[in-house]
């Protein structure tokens, strides 16, 4: 019984679905950003699994993962700055009240 590629892909799919659920249902803006990080990590797990099982000599999947980590760090910094700016303006972090652009 080896470690198969399917195990990693199923794990990544489960993590992605948990992230989607949290992204839509949570009302705290910081928690929404944390769920985005979960989604990016699920995608990274997919890339690493494919890199190890389908391309074990030229590890391009790991290079892709490093790029995704870089972009995720930039996204976290800018996203948290936006949350701080909204909090200063609206005095709340409830996602239901961020509706200035809604209709």
């Amino acid at each position: 019984m080896h470690l198969q590629l399917e195990y990693f892909l199923l794990l990544a799919a489960a993590l992605f679905c948990i992230g989607i659920y949290g992204l839509i249902t949570s009302r705290n803006a910081v928690r929404v950003l944390m769920c985005v990080e979960l989604l990016l990590n699920a995608v990274n797990l997919n890339l690493m699994g494919f890199s190890n099982f389908l391309d074990p000599t030229g590890i391009k999947g790991q290079v892709f993962t490093i790029f995704v980590i870089t972009v995720a760090a930039a996204e976290a910094a800018v996203g948290l700055a936006i949350v701080l700016a909204i909090y200063r303006n609206r005095e709340t972090i409830d996602m239901e009240q961020f509706n200035l652009l809604k209709w």
Binding site: H2, L3, L5, Y7, F8, L9, L10, L11, A13, A14, L15, C17, I18, G19, I20, Y21, I24, S26, N28, V30, R31, M34, C35, E37, L38, N41, L45, M48, G49, S51, F53, L54, P56, T57, G58, I59, K60, Q62, V63, I66, F67, I69, T70, A72, A73, A74, E75, A76, A77, V78, L80, A81, V83, L84, A85, Y87, R88, T92, I93, E96
Partner: protein
């Protein structure tokens, strides 16, 4: 990876259970500080899974960047905006939650079916594992991924400047009452009021 098969299976099962449990905790717990610390647990478990996948450099980068930088940033953001507010109830919210759970389960079922049905073309002929992944990744970075590598540095600079500009407070120069305590920066009136209230209480 030189570990025995059984050790690999057991450690994978442990890491997967840790990861899924911590991820559910991130989403479902009501206290957001617990969520932030459980997010660190998710990141560390994923780094362990990367080690199982023969990727030592990316595992180290995962711990350094996610646990060391992103998670600390999130905890600082929680401390900066930590206002215990009870969110106003929204009518028919359970319909939204139920629909989202349904969509999530359906998406998982779809992905699982796809993963299990697709015949992955894995060559089972003794996979030649890369000995030194850092050297290999470095070769990729400076040959065929050179342009994205350089653009990533520009992106990081843009993110840094943008985050500073977005999160900066608007200072107002030399205005209104000098009644506040010295050593406080002049800021917008609302925040001044809150600061002086707190200092008078404390």
């Amino acid at each position: 990876m030189n570990l025995a098969e059984g050790v690999q299976i057991v450690s994978f099962a442990l890491l997967a259970a840790m990861m899924l449990g911590a991820a559910l905790g991130v989403v479902l717990l009501s206290n957001i500080v617990y969520s932030a610390f459980l997010l660190a647990g998710v990141f560390i478990s994923i780094s362990g899974i990367y080690i199982l996948l023969n990727a030592d450099f990316v595992a180290a980068a995962q711990v350094l960047i996610y646990v060391g930088a992103v998670n600390v940033l999130i905890i600082f953001a929680i401390m900066l905006v930590n206002k215990r507010e009870d969110f106003a109830a929204v009518p028919r919210r359970w319909i939204r939650k139920g629909a989202t759970a349904l969509v999530g389960l359906g998406l998982f079922a779809l992905l699982a079916t796809m993963v299990l049905v697709t015949p992955w073309s894995i060559d089972s002929t003794s996979p030649a594992v890369v000995e030194n992944t850092i050297v290999e990744i470095g070769k990729h970075f400076f040959s065929d991924f050179l342009l994205p590598f350089e653009i990533a540095s520009v992106l990081l600079l843009m993110a840094m400047v943008g985050a500073i500009i977005l999160a900066r407070r608007d200072l107002i120069p030399e205005s209104q009452e000098p009644a506040t305590t010295p050593l406080t920066l002049p800021e917008r009136p609302r925040e001044l009021a809150s600061v002086s209230n707190k200092s008078s209480e404390g």
